[in-house]
Structure formats: C-alpha cells, structure tokens
C-alpha cells in the first residue's frame, strides 16, 4: 500500500547503475549536474556483479589449476584441490570490492543513489518503488541504462540445476558433468573454466561451430584447445529438454549433466521500466533506436546493451560520456572508429575494426613470437588489416593475453595510424605486442622473425 508518495526533482535521472549508468552519473556530476542514479539491484550492474568481473576471476583461478597440472613436462608437478565454495566466495569478494569502490566514487561525486524499481510515469517523471513506498522523481533529462538479461529457454525452467551464467558463477561444488547450451562467447568462457576445474563439459550448439561470429582463423586455436581439454562440442545440435541425468538432445542423443548452463544469448531490457510508455523506436532486436548523441527523444537518452551495437561494457561507458556531453551542451557524438571486442577463451581472442580479408591482411604467426614461446602458447596469430593507403583499419589476434593488444590496436585505428607508424614504434621485448610491429614489417615486405 502506497501512502504519501514523496515527490522530488533532479536535473538528470539515470536508471541502471552498470558500466553505462554509473559512468554517466560520475561524468554528469563532474560537470556540475544534479544527478540521481537508480538501480533495483547492486551498483555495478551485470558486468561487475554477475558478468565480466566474476567470470574473469573464475577463469584466472581455473587457469592456475590447469597451468599447474599441465606443466609436468616442463619440470613442474603439482596437485591442486578445488574448493568451489571458497572460489564462489572469492568471486563475490572481488565484485564486492569493486562495487564498494564505485559506491564511494558516487558518494564523493555527490550523486544521489536510490535502490528501487523505476518506471516512467511520464516523459519527465519516474515513479520509484522500494520497500512498500513509492516516490516520484521529476527530471529534466533521463538516461536509460538498464542493460540486458540472459535469454531463457522455455523447456528449461531455471532451478538449482538449470542456471544462467549468473548461476554458473556461484556453484558451490564442481559438477562432475556440465552441459552448456549455447556456444557463444559466454558458453565457451564458462565451459572452458569449469573444464579446467575438473568438470566433464559438453557444449551444445545449434550452429556449425562454437563462437558463431568469430572468423575461422581466430576461432580454430580455441576449438583445438577445447578438444585438448576434453570438452565435447556438439555442433548442429538442439537441446530439447532436461532429463534427470542431463539434457535430451534432438535426434535421440543425450548429454550427461549435473549442472545445465543456459547461455543462448542476452536480450535488451527494453520491455521493462515502462519504456513502452515513452513510445520510443525499437528495432527488430528490441534495441532502442538513438541518434548519434544517444538521444531517443528530446530529454530521453539510452545507452549500453539497450542500444544497437555490440553489448559490451566499454561501449556502454563510451556512450555514457556522449550522452552526458549532449546533456551538458558539449559537441560530441558516438562515432568510434572501432569498438574492440575480447573473448577470454583459451587462448584469448581480440578483434577490433575491419574484418580479416576486408583489406590487405598481414598475418604474424605466434610460433615466431618469443613471448608466446615462453608462455607455452604459440598456436595463434596476429592479423593486421590495412586499407589501400596503408592506414590500419583492423587488428585481430588469437593468443596469450590477446585481450591486452586491444589498447594499442584500437588506438592505432582511432588515430588513423599507418602500418608505417606501427612498424616505426619500438615495442618492448619480449611481449605479445611485438606481434603488431612484426605484422607491420611483413606488410612492408621486410618481415623480421619469419621467412619471406
């Protein structure tokens, strides 16, 4: 029962405190705007609490075990026992530390944070429900940053055994058998991690292979690694329904599973927060159509997974800056040269800009990389894509720490660097970043560490 609804006013209301919303809040507060940030759950959103952050902590731990167990040929023999409950606690602790950091940054910036369920009541007003009370908040501008959620499968009702990525990050024991439904990057990352922690993992994928949108060159080292780890990949396979022992597959096959992870994708939360009452334009993916200032309607902005483009935390944060600039009257638009994408598979995949083969493409195999050899992972390669003028327009790599190449690669593309610029930049030895210079030298016809 709602009694005596409080009404207040803010210059900028931000709904959703993930890497889009909290960055917008900090930036807007920095610009001197009165900001109210609303989230029904914890600060930090999916990424920080149940996404990028805990999954990377899990992947690191899994690799520690796997690395220790697979170094016996190099003179290192180890026994590693796994306490899943402590691991789950560790993942939560990492998230908690970062969440507290975000909380104190917001507090220092003077952002008003409200925990509650926000709904648009009008174009300029939200009603926020929390603990049996409802308050009204009038705003001059609003940024919708409510993100996305995992897609469910109707036949697989979630419970203790059938979980989404969120559940797969809080398991308190290592499942003997795990089935991952969906071979996208989330399924591959989680499947690999649990395989390294001792699970017998099966990945069920409807398409012809895992990582459906990743170029074959980049994908293949990962597919080989999955095989080495004993992960069963079932391509062209549909999961029909759960059984007592696992998953019934189309065509009569059956996959054993104590834990079934549903990782078939995510959908934007554009059906919540009474967004429909705003009459915003949605595209066929149910994403909110925005202009280059992230404006969906005058005074209403949308950022992050709700808007077209890849559903990535760093895209949301970059869009947050643009939206705040639009609100504060700074000339800006969301028009990146490229958005880097990283997959924490084994080995890692990094991809930014124009695809392999869309321009002159130069490949430097990691077999010739000193750093890759020292890490003991030389199956991948670095690819440089240039246009006719020699400007770098794409960089892609599969290999150890490939994700860390995203910085230099994206900077090069944003700066319209030429391959000559890359070749003329001194790269530290021994690092994986040398592979960029090596690929650039190759482009000039003067390869250094590989034969012509």
């Amino acid at each position: 029962m709602v009694v005596g609804a409080i009404s207040s006013r803010t210059e900028l209301a931000i709904i959703g405190a993930g890497p889009g919303g909290y960055v917008a809040a900090l930036r807007a507060a920095d610009a001197g705007i009165d900001v109210t940030l609303i989230d029904r759950a914890e600060l930090g959103g999916t990424c920080l609490n149940v996404g990028c952050i805990p999954s990377k902590a899990l992947i690191e731990l899994a690799q520690v075990r796997h690395g220790a167990l697979s170094a016996s040929a190099h003179g290192l023999t180890a026994q590693v026992s796994v306490d899943a409950e402590t691991i789950a606690g560790h993942l939560q602790a990492v998230s908690r530390q970062l969440r507290r950091g975000v909380g104190s940054l917001l507090q220092d910036a003077g952002v008003t944070v409200i925990k509650g369920d926000a709904n648009f009541a009008r174009y300029d007003r939200l009603s926020i429900a929390a603990d049996d009370s409802v308050q009204h908040l009038e705003f001059d501008n609003a940024i919708i940053a409510t993100g996305s959620r995992p897609i469910g499968l109707p036949a697989f009702a979630l419970d203790n055994r059938i979980v989404t990525s969120t559940g797969a990050l809080s398991l308190t024991s290592v499942p003997q058998h795990m089935a991952v439904i969906g071979g996208g990057y989330i399924g591959v990352e989680l499947g690999t991690a649990w395989a390294k922690l001792g699970s017998q993992v099966t990945i069920v994928e409807q398409g012809p292979h895992v990582l459906p949108n990743v170029a074959a060159e980049l994908r293949q080292p990962v597919e080989r690694r999955l095989e080495q780890l004993g992960v069963t990949v079932l391509p062209h396979t549909t999961a029909e329904r759960p059984t007592e022992q696992g998953v019934q597959l189309a065509g009569g096959e059956h996959a054993m599973a104590d834990i079934i992870v549903i990782a078939v994708g995510r959908r934007p939360n554009s059906d919540q927060t009474s967004i429909d009452s705003l009459n915003l334009d949605l595209n066929e993916q149910r994403q909110i159509v925005v202009d280059a200032q992230m404006r969906a309607k005058p005074g209403i902005y949308a950022i992050g997974d709700l808007t077209p483009g890849p559903a990535l935390a760093h895209k949301a944060s970059a869009e947050a800056e643009v939206a705040v600039h639009a609100i504060t009257g700074r000339a800006d638009s969301f028009a990146p040269a490229a958005i880097p994408e990283v997959i924490f598979s084994d080995p890692e995949i990094m991809s930014v800009g124009a695809p392999i083969g869309s321009g002159a493409t130069y490949r430097f195999p990691h077999a010739a990389s000193a750093r890759a050899r020292t890490i003991g992972e030389s199956s991948g390669a670095t690819y440089l894509v240039a246009d006719e003028a020699g400007t770098v327009i794409g960089v892609h790599a599969t290999g150890p720490h490939a994700s860390e190449l995203a910085g230099e690669a994206t900077l090069a593309i944003e700066m319209a660097a030429t391959i000559e610029d890359l070749a003329g930049t001194i790269h530290a030895h021994p690092t994986m970043s040398e592979s960029l210079a090596e690929a650039a030298w190759l482009a000039f016809g003067h390869p250094l560490h590989i034969r012509r």
Partner: protein, 439 residues
Amino acid sequence: MRHEFRLADIGEGLEEAEIINWLVEVGDHVRRDQPLIEVMTDKSNAELPAPQAGIVTELGGKVGDMISVGELVAVITETEGTATTPVSESPTASALPQADPVPPAHASAPAPAPADTAPIAGSGSTQQRPKASPSTRRAAAEQGIDLSTVQGTGPGGRILLSDLDNAGSLSPATPTPATPTPATPTPATPAPVAPKTAAAPTSAAVEPATTGVVALRGIRRAVAKNMAQSWSEIPHIHAFQHIDAEPLLALRAGLRTKGGDVFDNVTPLTFFVAAVARAVAEQPQANASLNMADETITYHQMVNVGVAVASDQGLVVPVLHGADRMDFSALAVSLAQLVRGAREAALDRKYYTGGTVTITNFGSLGGEQALPLIRPPESMIIGFGSIAKRPFVADDAVVARSTMNTVIGADHRLLDGDITTAVINRIGSLLVDPLQLVL
C-alpha cells in the same frame, strides 16, 4: 495490397509537374522512401519517394507528360515481406554513422540474441569514415566542421588538426557584413526584422491608410519598443548558410502523400521549427537569456520556439512551448493550431510569452536573405529565406537546384561565433537530411 500513389502538392501552390525521369520500371521492387520519379514544377525539381515498399505495377505517365495534383503517379502493390524494411537499412544506420552491423541471430537462440553473438562480428568497416584522431574529431565537432568535407594532408590521407584551419566552416565562406545595416540585398526585406514586411501589407487594418499623425498604439508600439531595445542594446552577430532544399520538399511531399491526417499539416515551417528545436536543444548554452540588470544568465530547460506570424493585428509571435520534446507529428499539429490561432487572434495571452528562440520565415514573402533582430530577452533569432532555383554545386558541377538561405542572429554578449555557427550548421544538416526530424 494495391496502393495508388498520387501527386500531392510538393510546394506552395503547385498545380502540376512535368515528368523528367522515371527512376524505376514496372516490376521493380522498391523500398519505402526509395526515389520513384523526378518531376519538375515551376519552382523546383523534386524526386518523389515511394510512400511504401512493394512492386511497381503501373506508371502514371511517360517522360515529358504533365501530371496534375491528385493524378496518379504510380501504383505500388504491396507483397508479403515487403511491408517491413530491414532494420539495418533504416534509422539505426543514419543514427550511428559508424553503426556496427547488426549481428545475425545466434544459431541456437530461440529469440534474437544481440549480446552473446555481438562480439567479434567485426566492428564495421572504417572505409567511409574520415581519417582523423579523436582530438581532431573533437576539435572539428566544436568548430562545426564536417570532417567528410575536409581534405586530409597526413599520411594515408589522415586529417590533421592543422587541416581544420582551411576547412569550410560557415563563417569565412559567407562573410557577415561588418556593419549590420538594415539594408539587405533584397528589396523585399528592407527592414531590420524581416517579418515587419509581413506586417506591412496586413497592417492596413490597424494603421489608417490616411496621411497625418496617429498615436503609436497596440502591437505596433510593442514592436517599436522591442526592436529599438534590440537594436540599441544587443550586439548582433549573424551567420548564413545556403542549403539544398530539395530533400525537404521531397520528404514533405512523401509525408503528405502517405495520407496520414497528422502530416496534412506539414509545411516547410514545420521542418524549420523542428530543426531549430533540435539544434538549440543540443546546444543548451544557446537556450538562454541575458539579464544585464542583475548580471545573470538564465538557462532555459525547454526550447520554446516563437514563430513570427502576420496577423490581422500586425506582426505577432506565438510560442510553441517545449518544441524540443515533441515528436514530429505532434509538432506539426500543434504548430498548425498555433499559427491558425494567431492569425485569427484567437490565442490566449500565455501563447505569446516564454519564448526562448524565434523563427522568422521571411522566405514565405519572397525574401532571399535578411538580418533579423533578436527579440529580447531571447538570445537568438533564426530566419529562413525563400526556396527557389539557384545555382548550386553538387558533385563538382553547378546545377540549378531548389535551395534556400538560412540566417542566425545571436546576442554576442552571450554567444560567440562557435556556438552560433554550430547551431546554424546543425539546422542546415537537419534540413538537408530531414528524415532525421521525422523519425
């Protein structure tokens, strides 16, 4: 479903148009808004877009024929699957110049799965994007320079910060007269405020057409005081732009042809108001008033657009409040009601107050260019000249094209050339691609 596409009035007073060129043939599949036909009227050439997707099953004439308003242009038959256009071709593409290709749905997903499938799809080709570093981009945006018009001198054609110095920002190309004398090139607009000429023909109603001395009263008195204050107190700066008006005419024709009642109200003024509201909303510093008495600046929340209208009582400026918060159809309806109300002197007083920026549509009187005066305490006035055939450079050739001049007058105490230019440039970019205003 069979849809008859008939010629609508695409310009003021159009009665008929000559078919210059067919852009489609019978049997062609057309997308919505795909140009169907090029026609010439006594005022302009225009491409008329398809009002809907489908197959062209009949053409209304051959090249050289005259079509009258209301006559058949073409018949488009809607087939299954043509009714919806792929998303990747429509608003998103224009909204995000560097839009990432929408990833195909995940093979194993029962529903569209944007997130899991998005990564590594490739962040799109960078081929058409002007090559420039982020700092250069920022500088260009702040100076209102469209990088696609700048020749880069860096390696690989990269646009350097220094290249922006030679770039075509508005002001050098169309120099503002050093002294804003009331005299303008066009005799039709001799007064400092163009719309005053609007008052002239109709003001006979309030000003006796006799010789002798009469008291200065009513609206004439208010205008006199207001303009004297504007002229003596506000250091004006003006900037101009000469823009292609054909996209606007074509879109307006398309909207009217579509037949929705709300679009019957669409006139060029609708686009002007929508463009001004959008451009000013994007530059909040420009939506402001200077109060010299207490030396403060008031920044306004909403963009309230005043529209100079010639009424029986003289020049009046009804205000469309919150124009920046209206979608296009709502704006069209509200504006039409407002203007009608003002002409008929049927508006409540509140509709004449609270303006934050004013539009003068002196082009509707035939004026090509003018130096309009700001209405204090506003900080800007934006004028639109006549739409007429003029020499225009397109694709490196001078062609006859329907164009118009736009002008902005800004209070230099409050606004500098950068924001002034950014606002008029933005208005120009919206009017040249007016679909942005409708979507």
